[in-house]
């Protein structure tokens, strides 16, 4: 980030949520894992006034007056709370799908301590007054802090820049036209140049509409068999390569959203090797599902970018392991039941993901040996730093951003319903291992599983 940018960020705290009472609790004998703090040990952890106050050998700390006691029995894992740089909270305008309260409740239930909301709302988040009113609403309703990425171009039309500098003064974390690409290279270049004035990461949804138009799923054997128009992976990878080159030329900072194919991973690796300032995210569904999961034409399997081949999936896992892909992002995209209960080609794109991300990735990647737990924790928390925010850290004096999980806990996704207002989850009905029991966000208790026994001291 340039020096000019930091003065913008100081004006308004970029994350905003409803203030919760500061947590007062003792987590006894939990297995603490925080790779950034070089912590992997059984400890007692005291949270006082919403901050991590004390770390001690297991069984050595006593719960004080008014402190809740949670016993980890040397088995439950305490992790830094996850950070999701890509969610759709559907507010304003589509509150029948989700709102700030339900979306952040879903985030907390999934162990996320903060999220970044996309601007493809109705109206589009593309002006300072709207950003102000959304931040005011988040300060009343959001269970975990929310950062906002206003649009790069007005109404996501790709024709005129938003007032990026004014938006940054009002707390914009960065900018994105997510849901749509910035089609014109010339338009994106102007935004990248303007970033020198105001800072703010440009998060890019990469898709060449001349290649993807009309498509509802990945172009390949399954789309050929189903007679559904396909979206070729080059619709994404050519745009990643184009925009990486633009960012390199302008020495600008860009973040590639929801990579879905091997060729895009290669383009990002190439850009990083050249020293260009790019980062990238990948979504749990692209790491765990493929075009084969679309064969039944289940509309929950319809998302943008589409589920690709197994070879693409394996390349994404390799990219995540190697750090070519910096972080996991859910692209949580809620849609109402009646919107998804239509033939596949008519259905809107998107799957919810906040409540299942950790469990699905733990089950599908960690338990299968594809990724170790510490690496998964790193990738599920790395999004914060990419947007210039401090990463959640388990250390004395830090604000409590913590997630307590039971790695052995088995559950069937959706069996008890969802915290989200929508239920269009691609993992619904799958048996997952790894349950989030407790989430502390910005020092307050944001989620508490009903199975968690908590003893008032």
């Amino acid at each position: 980030m340039s020096a000019a940018a930091s003065s913008f960020a100081d004006d308004a705290s970029p994350l905003v949520g409803a203030s919760q009472p500061p947590a007062e609790l003792l987590l006894r004998d939990v297995r603490v894992l925080d790779p950034r703090a070089a912590l992997d040990a059984r400890l007692d952890v005291r949270v006082r006034d919403g901050r991590i106050a004390e770390l001690g050998e297991p069984g050595t700390l006593e719960a004080g007056d008014g402190e809740e006691l949670v016993d980890g029995y040397g088995r439950l894992r305490l992790l830094p709370a996850f950070f999701d740089p890509h969610v759709h909270l559907r507010t304003p305008g589509q509150e029948h799908k989700e709102d700030l309260e339900t979306g952040t409740r879903a985030a907390a239930a999934g162990g996320f301590g903060a999220v970044i909301a996309m601007p493809n709302t109705d109206p589009v988040l593309d002006s300072a007054p709207l950003l102000r009113s959304l931040r005011d609403a988040a300060a009343r309703e959001a269970r975990v802090p929310v950062g906002f990425l206003p649009a790069i171009t007005r109404s996501l039309q790709g024709e005129q820049l938003t007032e990026m500098a004014e938006l940054r003064l009002q707390g914009a974390l960065g900018f994105s036209d997510d849901g749509k690409p910035v089609r014109s290279a010339g338009m994106l270049r102007k935004a990248l140049q303007y970033q020198r004035l105001c800072g703010g990461v440009l998060a890019l949804h990469e898709e060449d509409p001349t290649l993807s138009r009309g498509g509802s799923m990945h172009e390949g054997a399954v789309s050929a068999a189903l007679g559904i128009a396909g979206i070729p992976t080059i619709a994404e990878s050519t745009m990643v390569a184009r925009d990486a080159a633009l960012a390199g030329y302008e020495d600008a900072r860009v973040h590639f959203q929801h990579l879905s194919c091997a060729a895009s991973v290669e383009a990002v690796a190439d850009a990083k090797a050249r020293g260009w300032r790019v980062s990238a995210e990948v979504s749990p569904h692209h790491l765990l599902l493929t075009e084969e999961d679309v064969r039944g034409m289940d509309t929950r399997m319809k998302m943008h970018p589409p589920l690709t081949t197994d070879a693409d999936r394996l390349a994404l896992i390799d990219g995540l392991r190697a750090g070519t892909i910096d972080c996991v992002a859910t692209d949580h995209a809620p849609h109402a039941r009646d919107e998804k209960e239509v033939p596949f080609e008519q259905a809107p794109m998107g799957t919810t993901g906040l409540e299942t991300a950790f469990a699905a990735l733990h089950t599908g990647l960690v338990l299968t040996g594809a990724l170790d737990l510490a690496a998964l924790v790193l990738r599920m928390t790395a999004g914060a730093a990419l947007f210039g925010l401090p990463a959640p850290l388990i250390a004395v004096g830090e604000r409590a951003n913590l997630t307590l999980v039971d790695l052995a806990g088995e559950w069937v996704a959706g069996e008890h319903g969802w915290e989200s207002r929508s239920e269009n989850c691609c993992f619904a009905g799958r048996r997952l291992r790894g349950r989030v029991l407790l989430t502390l966000a910005a020092g307050g208790v944001a989620h508490r599983d009903r199975a968690l026994a908590m003893v008032e001291a």
């Binding site: 789309s223 068999a225 128009a229 034409m297 033939p343 080609e345 008519q346």
Partner: protein, 317 residues
């Protein structure tokens, strides 16, 4: 069989059983009184979201020859145009308790969805560019009448494979019956990955001579405006089945309606090798056989399955 949604759900024995039943119904068609009382008191609902004269009237005639009551529901000019969803329309029409719903929509997978929403037997009369299983069955029937078994026969499907539900159903059905299938057409209209259905792919008709049966697909004029091919003229010069390309021993098929001078030249349409009219005739008896199979054949079994399916039907794994 509870529904006819995709050829993928049928094995060779299923196809042969339906074709054999159609042969029995063909005898009825030659009688002076063409009606049998098999489905008296049963109701067949034709629910069509796309314009279709041939398929719809063929189903209507088939149902009437079996003495079923027929209700035609065309999506245009109805509540559908007022914004009613497919699900709501189906639930509303289900209140009339149809025994079978014949469904044509522009959307892949619609029949499968509708089968989950109601207890009627669903006949897919075309779902988007996905499948058109009764067309494939009547094509198999037609070949049975004209050439007998098609084991090891070479069948070329020529033209716009990408946008053709007929192609997809026929690739599967011809293969089930033992034939070898080659698809040929302009590279822009052959979908990537189609070879994984087990067919060969050719971009020219140079080897068309090796085919025993040539199945031409309809070339739709709107494909020009979307620049799938440069012009109809160029398409015809490379892919038209005409007297120069067709050899005398080959059988020529086409699902209709024919664009004379585009995918077929006039002389081959009228040649004795063309079985296009026979395909149309086969439509009624094959659809009679399908309705018979679904409504008369395993009737009790079906109602039991429908009850069982209602409980667990909503989750798609």
């Amino acid at each position: 069989m509870n529904h006819l949604i995709s050829i993928e759900d049928l094995d060779r024995a299923d196809i042969e059983r339906i074709v054999a039943q159609a042969e029995r119904f063909a005898e009825v068609a030659d009688r002076e009184i063409k009606k049998v009382p098999t489905l008296r008191g049963r109701m067949v609902l034709n629910l069509f979201y796309e314009a279709s004269t041939r398929t719809r009237s063929s189903f209507e005639l088939a149902a009437k020859r079996l003495s079923a009551d027929v209700v035609n529901f065309a999506a245009s000019g109805s509540s559908v145009e007022k914004g009613e969803s497919l699900k709501d329309t189906v639930l509303t029409l289900s209140a009339h308790k149809p025994d079978a719903i014949v469904l044509r929509t522009p959307w892949a997978g619609a029949s499968e969805l509708v089968a989950k929403w109601c207890s009627a037997a669903i006949v897919n009369a075309g779902d988007g560019k996905h499948e058109h299983p009764t067309q494939a069955l009547l094509d198999v029937y037609t070949l049975r009448q004209h050439v007998g078994a098609i084991d090891d026969a070479s069948i070329w499907i020529v033209g716009d494979v990408m946008h053709s539900r007929v192609a997809r159903s026929n690739i599967l059905a011809f293969q089930r019956m033992g034939a070898r299938v080659t698809v040929a057409g302009p590279p822009t209209l052959i979908p990537r990955g189609i070879e994984q259905l087990g067919c060969d792919v050719r971009y020219t008709l140079d080897e068309l001579r090796s085919a025993d049966i040539v199945y031409a697909l309809r070339m739709q004029r709107e494909r020009m405006s979307e620049t799938w091919v440069p012009s109809l003229r160029e398409y015809a010069s490379w892919y038209q089945i005409n007297g120069r390309r067709l050899t005398p021993r080959q059988i020529l098929m086409h699902p209709g309606p024919v664009n004379r001078g585009v995918e077929l030249s006039g002389e081959v349409v009228d040649s004795p090798q063309a079985v296009i009219t026979a395909q149309v005739e086969a439509g009624v008896v094959v659809r009679m056989a399908v309705l018979f199979e679904l409504l008369a054949g395993a009737r009790e079994q079906r109602s039991l399955a429908a009850v069982g399916g209602a409980g667990g039907g909503s989750g798609v794994a």
